[in-house]
Symmetry: C2
Amino acid sequence: MIYDTIIIGRGPAGVSAAIYLKRFNLNPLIIAKDDGVLIETEAIDNFYGFGHISGKELVHRGIEHAKNLDISMIEAEVIEIMPLGETFLIKTNEGEYESKSVFLAMGKKKAQLKIATRNKFDGKGVSYCAICDGFFYKNKHIGLVGAGPFMENEYNVLKNFTKELTIFTDGAKLEHQFDGVKVVEDKIIELVGDERLRSVKTQNGEYEVDGLFIALGSQSGMSLSYHLGLEMDEKGFLKVDNFMTNIPGIFAGGDIIGGLLQVSKAVADGASAALAIKKFLDSKK
Amino acid sequence: MIYDTIIIGRGPAGVSAAIYLKRFNLNPLIIAKDDGVLIETEAIDNFYGFGHISGKELVHRGIEHAKNLDISMIEAEVIEIMPLGETFLIKTNEGEYESKSVFLAMGKKKAQLKIATRNKFDGKGVSYCAICDGFFYKNKHIGLVGAGPFMENEYNVLKNFTKELTIFTDGAKLEHQFDGVKVVEDKIIELVGDERLRSVKTQNGEYEVDGLFIALGSQSGMSLSYHLGLEMDEKGFLKVDNFMTNIPGIFAGGDIIGGLLQVSKAVADGASAALAIKKFLDSKK
């Protein structure tokens, strides 16, 4: 079946959009890998009408709200979004889904290493997007940090550029085997270098690399966006015009487009984006 | 005392702004005559996280939310907003209040007669603003519809233009006596005319008028806005730039500025406007 809209993310922006789309008698599908970063917020005191609530409780009430309206929801990690002309193919680790439009609402989190030097070499040897920067490390020694499907996706890009690849799982266990690839499974404790990154220090060793790609956790919004060629501003937020990105049919709202990084704004974005999506779908009839 | 911000309206936009301002450690005061039009909405199913809730219940939860944060709130009808240079004087039927900034959040309702012909002569003999249009009826017979403080305020403007004034209370009892003014206390049933309004038909008679001013209920946002000289668009919504009207220090949000007329958007407006107000107040220090 082809959904009217596939919504990526089940936080306030995504669920709010789904609620409106459903009430427009459209057929949205929410795909999310987890409950997002809002659940890490201990207390929200400034979202109208709720008084005091935890991020976790609010997100769960939102999901409940969507379920009560019979909105379809799938727990999966989106690996790739492929524009197919009139529709979009959403590839996940749990299968593929097709839709006439896409709403990106996965927030602004970029998975990072939890060490002091994590940002020290951003753009100076450390990258968050294989397809964007892999070329610069052609035939060089590339380190790749991660252990899940997102890392594997980045691996499939990077292996075209070099044979010297080291996967750093940062303490995690690899889900699959990789032929002919060096794997370091202990925790990363420091990124070392002067002007540029020179090596990765782990609990049990130090490994020289020319470049290091961070693919921790899941495909971040930024990474998916790079792959799609979506325009961003200088802060890494998606550029939208009435919630539509530069690719017709792909919309975005909530923290991923910047502005006030607040629940209230994400909820309103969802509502307005749903209206914009409806207009877009109507114009295609 | 001088408040940082006086917020007019205690619906979603007003309360959301108050919550943010309070958390910015500012001192807002909410003034509202009642709970606004949202309470007339029987069911709201599309405000994130609430599932199914009545307008009344949601507004009351919002007010509760504000009270729990010790936000000052007064039930009164705002009659006039006077810019005093560095501050604003808010005149109400319960006294005067002063603030460094104002947030208009009283929604978009314009009190109207509940008869079929109510809009037939808008701009053709029927007006909603004495100070805007009173001059056109100089020395002519003016009808004035209303019975409360807002009507009295309009009366005080219109009496400067003509001695021939008839007050139509539309079934209500006048709160005060008016010397030398004809008062018709029965219900209006029809506005009569061809190109322009010619007479007002009530249950017990018909009265010729040259112009009729509607001042039912309370001072509407539109009327207050006209008095202040606030710029509006062609639909009667206030024009704002990052929530500030054309008068520096006077902000507006929610339905009164148009856009999506939805709770979610009003709540987000309140949050963003609070931020804009904070910046304005900081710039004055």
